[in-house]
């Protein structure tokens, strides 16, 4: 279950029904030894997914395994000591205590607490832990919580928007530290992030999540080199039929005098275009947020019309 090749978190058919939100069914396998990023718009269920993994929320259906153990059978406590969790919002109820008091609590709770590592992280992040948590600035609090989370050498790190509030320098320090954390090769990070650059720098795998559903999991480099957009001069009607055959077609739209065709298989599309002697007016690789936008759009359309195709 540890090291590359295993699975750090496995969710099978997990469903959660809440008054305003439905999650699932989620099938997800987070590979051990890698950094997996969950990317999706606000309200797509990322934080809820973390809470389910930590047994903080109970699913209505389905099974969850973390580091090889089943969650939710009342025996999660020992397991959770091997997990480092940074929630999206800091806990307000410990605003009145000082940083060092909270560290003291962690020392008792986590058997692998490493005070030297903790001190080094405070120094790197330039955090003064004698300040009350509620008095710390947003960025300082974030850095402090990150330091705490890393100081007990967890096997699995669950980071929910870790960089919110960090200045660019602290952000770089965080990226560096997370790479260092992964260096041993047997640890796992699952990170939810909106920051494209962060995902690019850290992730090995990317999971897209929209509307409580996992749309797919991709190897990052394959994803980013695979998705390209091509522009063809002329009207939509002229191109619709021809381009609907394009390999990997994921989106086709009128972009005002040109037709924009998005493919998830750029190389095959290249060959296909060349074989038909089509001449695109331009092409571009796509950033993560461009890809997400196409997937969200497609999901929306499928939900509305219940259709699979990308061509209307």
């Amino acid at each position: 279950m540890n090291g590359q090749g295993g699975t750090a978190v496995r969710m099978t058919g997990v469903r959660l029904r809440q008054p305003h939100f439905q999650l699932g069914p989620i099938h997800l396998e987070v590979p051990a030894g890698f950094v997996t990023a969950i990317v999706g718009p606000n309200g797509s269920g990322k934080s809820t997914t973390f809470r389910l993994m930590l047994d903080l929320t109970k699913p209505d259906e389905g099974g969850i395994e973390v580091l090889g153990r089943t969650i939710g059978n009342g025996k999660s406590i020992e397991l959770l000591k091997r997990v480092g969790y940074l929630p999206e919002e800091p806990y307000r109820h410990d605003n009145v205590i000082r940083g060092m008091d909270k560290a003291e609590f962690y020392k008792h709770w986590y058997p692998d607490w490493d005070v030297n590592h903790y001190r080094e992280l405070l120094r790197l992040f330039e955090v003064d832990h004698s300040i009350r948590l509620g008095k710390m600035s947003k960025g300082m609090r974030r850095k402090f919580d990150l330091a705490l989370t890393l100081s007990h050498h967890p096997d699995l790190l669950l980071l929910d928007e870790p960089s919110s509030g960090l200045d660019p320098l602290a952000w770089r320090t965080m990226i560096e530290l997370l790479h260092r954390y992964m260096e041993s090769g047997d640890r796992t990070i699952l990170i939810a992030s909106h920051v494209v650059e962060e995902v690019k720098r850290l992730a090995d795998f990317i999971v897209f999540m929209v509307n409580g559903k996992v749309l797919g999991m991709y190897e990052k480099d394959e994803l980013l080199t695979g998705w390209h957009q091509f522009y063809f001069p002329g009207g939509y009607e002229k191109w619709r039929a021809v381009l609907s055959e394009m390999p990997g077609l994921a989106g086709l739209e009128d972009a005002g005098g040109v037709v924009r065709a998005v493919t998830s298989s750029a190389r095959e599309a290249d060959a296909w275009i060349a074989a038909r002697e089509l001449v695109p007016a331009g092409r571009k690789s796509m950033e993560l947020d461009d890809i997400l936008a196409v997937l969200v759009e497609r999901e929306k359309r499928q939900r509305q019309y219940g259709m699979k195709g990308v061509v209307q």
Partner: protein
């Protein structure tokens, strides 16, 4: 020296392939000498901003070609390349790069003459701008003395 590897993010060419071509060239040309320790997979991935899956594939492929050796627990090193192999590899890398250049030309409907002319121009430019040998080193950040 491996720091000179540059990726074209805008290309549809898989990253592992881009890295492999460049790293192979560095080894075969002798710019990365025998016994040089390469960064760990995670470090290399961090430096090139790509995934460890990509780097692992590159290291495995080059190991299979006999250009790299991994010693358990120590790291990945540049292997000894014998002169015969070096000659073959040397031309392999160039042939591959040429194929790619020609493919790029054909994609935009270049004629044979245009391609030949481009080749001459680029070669001419390269000869004119070429820096004297031995000046392009960044140093290996103290990694050469290990292994």
């Amino acid at each position: 020296m491996w720091m000179s590897i540059q990726l074209n993010e805008y290309s549809a060419e898989p990253l592992y392939h881009q890295i492999e071509v460049q790293l192979r060239a560095l080894i075969v040309s002798g710019q990365l000498s025998e016994g040089t320790m390469l960064p760990s997979i995670r470090e290399m991935a961090q430096h090139l901003k790509c995934s460890v899956i990509t780097i692992r594939r590159v290291y495995q492929d080059l190991e299979a070609e006999g250009l790299l050796v991994t010693r358990q627990g120590t790291g990945t090193f540049v292997a000894k390349v014998n002169p015969e192999e070096r000659r073959r590899h040397r031309l392999d890398a160039v042939t591959t790069a040429m194929r790619e250049a020609v493919a790029a030309g054909l994609r935009v409907q270049c004629s044979d003459d245009e391609l030949r002319e481009l080749f001459e121009t680029v070669l001419h430019e390269a000869r004119a701008n070429r820096s004297p040998p031995g000046e392009e080193g960044y140093g290996e950040c103290g990694k050469e003395d290990e292994g």
